[in-house]
Subunit: 325 residues, 2 copies
């Protein structure tokens, strides 16, 4: 971790020290944090390590004129925590690499850090290191989250089998609907929609699903249902059939109308959990405050299809997340 900008590192150290560890943290999981060549961490005995890295790039993942600095910081860490949740894991520490343009107001950095550290504190996650640099253009953040999971119990994408039920937590399409409103400058309708602007990662749900040993495969809906289900199908060597009218679509705007089916199928960044459950296993309607909905089943035949209310089917193509195109 070379060439830290001294004042920023000092500020991060101070903020990080005041933020964690939270009530869920084990005894001193971070032996040595910010300010050495490496951070030194302890992994609980009998556990394996989880590592995930995610970019948050200005102009690709966020826009300064649409997203508040606090929401950028929150979402930056959400991306990593949601990946840990999707493995059924427990987050331990985060590492932030941050490249900033020379003319960026210090207030932006402070708000960004506040959004990130507030979420870290809620999950007992310690900011344990990172790197800083001057950016040639735009804000560049890369977040690394390290977590742990009892040995052999990580929930992979590759475990789905034919006839498994397909479930999703919460509601889909809300984040993209909120983004479209922001793009349309209709911020009034968005202001109260904190859930979509600062989505809470489903860490408690992921942990509970792992403990209940209910789940055969899992992923988070960061790219959108069609893409993320596509990843499960590809890694598991199976197909899927989704029932259109079972998709829990978010309600958006002043009218609180359910978002269009296409947003539910393809909208990304909701950070819900998408998982499969072997046939015959009972799934509660709620776990860890999250509503769970069965939306379809895994098929032996490859490819994904959507079954409409009338009973007809059409192919479902992974359409991915829409960025700011």
């Amino acid at each position: 971790m070379p060439l830290p900008e001294k004042s920023l590192i000092a500020e991060l150290r101070r903020l990080a020290a005041s933020a964690g560890p939270g009530p869920r943290a084990r005894t001193r999981p971070v032996v040595n944090g910010i300010g050495d060549d490496c951070a030194v961490l302890r992994v609980p005995r009998g556990h394996e390590l989880l590592v995930t890295t995610d970019f948050s790039l200005e102009g690709v993942h966020f826009r300064r004129d649409w997203h508040s600095a606090e929401s950028v910081g929150h979402r930056c860490l959400t991306r990593g925590l949601s990946d840990i949740a999707a493995m059924g894991g427990e987050p331990i520490a985060a590492f932030l690499s941050l490249a900033l343009p020379r003319d960026l107001p210090q207030a932006w950095v402070r708000q960004f850090t506040r959004g990130l550290l507030r979420l870290a504190g809620q999950h007992g996650v310690i900011l344990a290191g990172g790197d800083t640099a001057e950016s040639p253009t735009g804000i560049l953040a890369d977040i690394v989250v390290v977590g742990s999971v009892p040995k052999g119990q990580a929930i992979l994408r590759s475990g789905a089998r034919p006839d498994d039920g397909i479930f999703v937590s919460g509601e889909l399409g809300g984040a993209l609907a909120a983004l479209r409103q922001m793009r349309g400058r209709n911020k009034a309708g968005v202001a109260g929609r904190r859930r979509h602007i600062c989505p809470p990662p489903r860490v408690a749900l992921g942990r509970a699903l792992r403990e209940k040993k209910l789940v055969s495969a899992m992923i988070d809906t960061s790219d959108g249902l069609s893409s993320d289900l596509g990843h499960i199908c590809e890694e598991s060597g199976v197909g899927a059939e989704i029932e259109a009218d079972r998709i829990p679509r978010a309600r958006a705007g002043r009218s609180r109308r359910a978002v269009d089916l296409e947003l539910g199928l393809h909208g990304g960044e909701d950070y819900e959990l998408l998982f499969t459950v072997p046939e015959g296993r009972r799934v509660p309607a709620r776990i860890a405050e999250a509503k769970l909905t069965r939306i379809g089943r895994i098929t032996r035949a490859r490819g994904m299809v959507v079954r409409d209310a009338g009973g007809g089917t059409r192919p479902l193509q992974p359409r991915g997340w829409e960025h700011f195109r």
Copy 2:
């Protein structure tokens, strides 16, 4: 790890699978690598975890018209491995976040990856995951290296005590001298200087120093002697006195003349190890093929000074690494 560009992920998977693990690797340290929400790793029993992250940004850390893609890939990983070495650790796995401009030739990516994976293979390090994105401008890489060290044995920056000897491996100033030659388009004189273009991280030396229990504090010379010694002094609450004529200056150019003292004092990116040893301990002239030179001693009085051949002293200010200003 959302939205991987499919062909790149497939290529990295294929290349990563062929690269590791090398002879030093433990049994399956990477349980599950590229292609899930997180990588799953195993940390050896009785060991603590080391984590480091380092940016390599076009226009800040490298220039496409000066550095070959292969050397950019090599140096990207060197930055992380050198941090692991500076803790006396053993590298396990690397994670690469890579944002690329849309118009970047595929050949550049392939050469970059080759440089990175060749070095990874030499150290038994597995490329276990990362993130990919389209860059709004320029090539952005962030490397994470995860390693391990026996519990309580990580060598920190904070352990230096008054009268400890100060040692450095190899030679200093060569990387910056080579860079200046590249800037001056005098590539002929640089071509043969692979050590400066693709510096080998001192992993074996770091490990040996930890095993010998010789060292009280250690850092790698990524920013330059004056800055990196400054970090040791700051974290240890001590000062330092350096003897100018003991600094092992690299020989550069066709004349093979030693570089200027200022390059030895302030030139960065040599990736040598800088360490302190309690008074009275004997240090071999070479360990793990690296020449070791005593260049000064730690002082109780804060601040750093250089003692010239004549015996006079002058203050030494941390001047940091020169980037491409």
